[in-house]
C-alpha cells in the first residue's frame, strides 16, 4: 500500500508532507492518530530523516502536533483552538480584502462576477449547503488572498489557516447550510473590492468571517461533550 506520489521532482520530505497532508485532510488519518516515525518510514520506504522533516513541515502548517520525546499526532483542535483560528482569520482576511480593494482594476468586477455565477449554480445544485465546505467558498477567499499581493499574508492563509479549517471539517462534516447567505455576503464583499472601497470590504469580510464562526460554534454546541 504505497501511497507515495509518482512525482519524482523535489525533495523526498516534501513529497511525504504532501501525501500525509492529503491523508489527514481527507480524513484517512483522523485527529489524534499517532504518526510513528518508523511506521511512516517503512510505509514510504524511506529513512526516518525525511519523515522527521515532513512532520516538521506539517507541524508548521498546524495540522500535526509534535511533543518532544513523545512523538507526532494528527492535531486535535479544541473549541478554543477553533475560536482562536477564526479570530486570526477575521483579522487576516479583513486585511486581505482591504488590500485587494486597493489593488482592484477594471477587470476585477467581471472576474468576481464570473466566479460568483459559478458558485451560485453550485449552491443551486446542492441547496442543503455544500457550498461552504466545497471548493467554492475556498476559491473565493483564495482569490482575495492572492489579490492582496502579500506573500506573508498568503502563506498564513493558504498555508496554515486553511488547512486547519479543513481539519476542523474532518471531524464535524457538513457545515450548516449557510450556502445561500454566504454567497450573498460574498457578492457584497466582491462589490466593495471592485469599487476599490477598502474600508467597506474589510468591514464586510470581518463580519462575514464572524458570521461563519457563529454558525460553526452553534453546530459545535450541538454534540456537546464530544471531544474537548
Amino acid at each position: 500500500m504505497s501511497t507515495i506520489s509518482e512525482t519524482s521532482r523535489g525533495l523526498v520530505a516534501e513529497r511525504l508532507a504532501e501525501d500525509l497532508r492529503d491523508d489527514i485532510l481527507s480524513g484517512r488519518l483522523q485527529p489524534g492518530a499517532r504518526l510513528g516515525e518508523v511506521a511512516l518510514a517503512e510505509r514510504f520506504s524511506v529513512s526516518r530523516g525525511p519523515v522527521r522533516a515532513a512532520l516538521n513541515l506539517l507541524s508548521e502548517a498546524g495540522i500535526v502536533t509534535i511533543v518532544p520525546n513523545s512523538g507526532a499526532r494528527v492535531r486535535e483542535l479544541s473549541r478554543a483552538d477553533a475560536r482562536a483560528l477564526y479570530e486570526v482569520r477575521a483579522a487576516l482576511e479583513g486585511e486581505a480584502a482591504m488590500l485587494a480593494a486597493s489593488r482592484a482594476n477594471g477587470e476585477t468586477a467581471a472576474r468576481f462576477a464570473a466566479l460568483l455565477d459559478q458558485h451560485a449554480s453550485e449552491v443551486a445544485a446542492h441547496p442543503e449547503g455544500a457550498y461552504l465546505q466545497g471548493a467554492g467558498d475556498r476559491d473565493f477567499h483564495l482569490v482575495i488572498a492572492r489579490m492582496a499581493e502579500n506573500p506573508l499574508l498568503l502563506r498564513y492563509l493558504a498555508g496554515e489557516l486553511y488547512p486547519q479549517l479543513s481539519l476542523l471539517r474532518v471531524k464535524h462534516r457538513n457545515v450548516t447550510g449557510r450556502g445561500a447567505k454566504a454567497l450573498h455576503e460574498h457578492k457584497r464583499i466582491a462589490e466593495a473590492i471592485a469599487d476599490g472601497d477598502a474600508e467597506v470590504a474589510g468591514l464586510l469580510m470581518r463580519r462575514h468571517i464572524r458570521n461563519s464562526w457563529t454558525a460553526l460554534e452553534a453546530q459545535l454546541s450541538e454534540h456537546v461533550g464530544e471531544g474537548e
Copy 2:
C-alpha cells in the same frame, strides 16, 4: 569559541536555535551570511541532525531562508518584505487590541499606567528616540498580544513577526526618533483598551502600526539603492 548556552534542559536543536537567533538578532550574523551545516555542527560540537532541525525552526520564524540543495542563509528582508510584514502586523495587532479590550478588567488601567510611566522615563532619558527600538515598545505590544488570550495570535506576533522586525533593525539601526509620538499613541491605545472599547482600540492600533511603517519607509528611502 563555544557560544552554546549553559542551560542543559530541552532538546539540543532548541538550544542551537536559541543561540543562533541571538547571534542573528544581535547582528553578529548579518543578513545574507551563509549558515553552513558542517560549520555550525562543529562550532556547537554536535551532529548535523540537530543543526538541520534548528535551521528549520529559524526558518519558521522567518529569520533564516533555506533553499533546497543550496543551504541556509540569514534572511535579507527586501522593502517589499518589510511592507508585507507591516501590513500583516497591522491586521494582527489591531485584532489583538480589540481582543484585549474585550478582556479588560478593573486592574487593566493601572497596569498600563505603570508600564507607560516607566516608558515615559525611558523616552526622557533618551530623547533621540531609543524608545522605539528598545524593550519599551516591544513590551507594550507584547502585553497587548498576551492580553488577547489567543495562542495562535501570540505565536504569530511574538514568534514570527517580532523577530523579523528585529531583523529589519539590524540593518537599519536606530529607527527615527518617533519615541515621544509613539508613546502618546500608546497611551491612547491603552485608554481605549482599559475602557473596553474594542472598536477604537483596534482602529488606533492599526493606525499606530501604519504610522510606524510610514516612518520606517521614509528612513529606508534615505539610503536608496543600498540593498534591494
